[in-house]
Symmetry: C2
Subunit: 417 residues, 2 copies
């Protein structure tokens, strides 16, 4: 059976992956999504020159020589609150009291903060220190200039971006839709979460881990349950899955463990692109597409292998569908703390913990790398891919490690697979 | 008016912050939450010794000298599928065909992967390569050992942790509750998102930015709308806010811009701990507590200042309430690419972009640091705090930068404020 390399498998998957359609969502539902169109400013912001401080709006020429010892006295002609407009023009020798965010009156060019002033009464103020000409005034359009592009298509909506969308009054936002994902576990040996415990069975952890991995990407997946090892049940569940954009099937399907798996897939019109990837953990990874446009990932039944495969293959596909350019786990350079010996022929994803000091990161294997040791996936902070042609890495070698614990992505894989 | 240092303000806030009560949530709702009790394994996993490979279960002594040139022939006495139990004991000279995840039969101690074998027919197999004694067998309890602690109270529920919770059949999980957060904007100058546009008004971006910052932490905040500048409306909205665990009030309240703000707070039984923090942007930051246990953060009306204050003060409090130990933004060491001059007296949070190469990170100011330039918050990858007593930093200096764009937290502030 042909083994795809990790890189070839990723390329094959991305070649069969398209962005989702556009949809409009409420502003508050747009966090983490990707803009599907350019956004233009519909106003100037600020709409006029405004004060950046509580203080006094003055003509710089009047106060250029003010000091604490020889303060300058100005007549106060206005008191401008935030949201109110100035009532008059400020002439030479005059000033206006002004609050942060209020429009500066005509005639002034500088705001002196209140701490550097002393007011005699409502009608007179002593300026005790200067500020550069133009200081503390935010000019019209500093934040947003009307009719100019403010946010480009493809921008990921962070809290800062969402704030700008609110400023230009986008109460709904056009974003790429999220793929509809279904999750199916397969195998007679599995015990469902809501089933009574049978100590001889294997609890289904995979489908829940996949659910959580999707949710961490912002996708609420649909659980199709467990298909038992019989062709009718499997066929029905697979057919149901083909009603989604992506079906994640975990367990026996991936290895074609039963004679009926392949004919069932073929009969449903699912063409498989590959069945195996030269990697550890995780080699039984299959990928196919249905005439409807649905894609199927058949993931290994082993939870660690399944989670690693999700990170390498499924997440980049889902993030591409969501419109992201950054689709691969972010990598950092780290110094190995010990030797690692490895068999050639497969890319080995070693689970590592990371430490950071002033010289950068160091990486240490989490220990037992048997694909059964699920706890290692819970404690791992990174995955260190050892390329298929490497058989040894040495303590002190600088390697690229994929960061696992946070949701950080980059455009390129950044590792040799 | 007394200015608190950033560190003193953080300490004061955390001193008045407690963890939330416990609650039980469905497993699928537990992602990102923090375990509020230790979790014990309720089973052994795997429940028996299982094969880690598709192959043949053998007695090592029988195959110790097998090679491709001189393979060893064994009689096949069983075919054990995943989920099925062995039907018989394997005696000397015999083997059982076995699938990944199936229980190994009595008598065997090693599994030879199928690639290293050749089956004549159903009843005979040639072993063409050896594996170390014990190879490819995952022992009973390798993942989980019954009645031992598997996950400790305080563990954050990642996908890997959620998989383990599924294995021990925790269909509901005891976690720290999330704080109930309300968001209130204040000020006559503000235009609500759903109001018709008035070019002279200031669109309310703050409350939506705060909503997004809460949501990024996993908290769905309640929007209380905009309180206009009158004592009755403000009082009613503040009273409503005191029905939540945390009220985030943005705008005029923070600076006590109107004479009625302080009496209204006092009259509602809200004791303020401080009104100002020596920082830029963001100095008008007030914090108080109500006899009900509710806390109020009065945040600056400026969106950039508000977002920076949220990161420094609100997020650590909310994450503490949620049970996290890691409450401060993660910091990385970065080399400055240019000089930065600064006035002493306030901690200045400079928005920076970061670049990474094999020598680590470098940090560059996003340019204009006026607190009005909201776009700078959208593009910033980090915040570089310049301590209150520093007036200059030089190109080449190594500084600690708070990472802004992802949800990464650490236990200590990691920066001098």
């Amino acid at each position: 059976m042909q083994y795809f390399s990790v890189a070839d498998a990723q390329a094959c998957i991305l070649q069969h992956t398209q962005r989702c359609r556009h949809e409009r969502v409420a502003l508050h539902d747009s966090l983490g999504r990707v803009l599907a169109e350019d956004v233009f400013a519909n106003r100037n912001h600020p709409p006029y020159d405004v004060s950046a401080m509580d203080g006094y709006a003055v003509r710089y020429a009047d106060i250029a020589h003010a000091t604490a010892e020889e303060p300058v006295s100005l007549g106060v002609v206005d008191d401008i609150r935030a949201g109110a407009m100035p009532k008059c023009r400020v002439l030479a020798g005059k000033a206006a009291r002004i609050m942060t965010g209020a429009a500066t009156p005509e005639g002034v060019d500088t705001v002196i903060r209140v701490e550097d002033t002393e007011a005699d009464d409502e009608h007179q103020v002593w300026i005790r220190a200067i500020a550069p000409q133009g200081a503390n005034i935010r000019p019209l359009g500093e934040n947003l200039r009307k009719d100019t592009m403010t946010l480009a298509k493809g921008t990921t909506i962070t809290p800062g971006v969402l704030a700008i969308l609110a400023m230009v009054k986008q109460s709904t936002v056009t974003v790429y839709a999220q793929p509809r994902v279904a999750i199916l576990a397969t195998g007679d040996e599995l015990e469902a979460l809501d089933e009574a415990m049978d100590e001889e069975k294997i609890p289904d952890a995979n489908s829940h881990a996949l659910y959580a991995q999707c949710k961490a990407l912002g996708i609420e997946a649909t659980m199709l349950g467990i298909a038992r090892d019989n062709p009718i049940e499997l066929r029905a569940k697979l057919a149901e899955g083909m009603g989604y954009d992506v079906l994640l099937a975990s367990g026996g399907v991936s290895v074609g463990v039963h004679d009926f798996v392949r004919p069932t897939l073929a009969d449903l019109g699912i063409g498989m692109h590959f069945w195996r990837v030269a990697m550890r953990p995780g080699h039984p990874l299959a990928f196919g597409s249905h005439e409807s446009g649905a894609r199927i990932f058949a993931l290994p039944g082993n939870p660690v292998a399944s989670m690693v495969c999700f990170e390498q293959f499924v997440a980049p596909a889902l993030r591409t569908m969501m419109g992201h350019q950054q689709i691969h786990r972010r990598t950092v350079a780290a110094r190995l703390t010990h030797d690692i010996k490895d068999r050639a022929g497969r890319t080995h994803f070693v689970r590592v913990t990371l430490r950071q000091n002033e010289h950068g990161y160091s990486a240490t294997s989490t220990g037992a790398q048997g694909s059964g040791v699920l706890m290692s996936m819970a404690v791992a902070q990174g995955l260190l891919p050892i390329p298929a042609d490497a058989t040894v890495m040495h303590a002190g070698d600088v390697v690229n490690v994929q960061l696992l614990q946070e949701m950080e992505y980059q455009a390129d894989a950044g590792v040799e697979c």
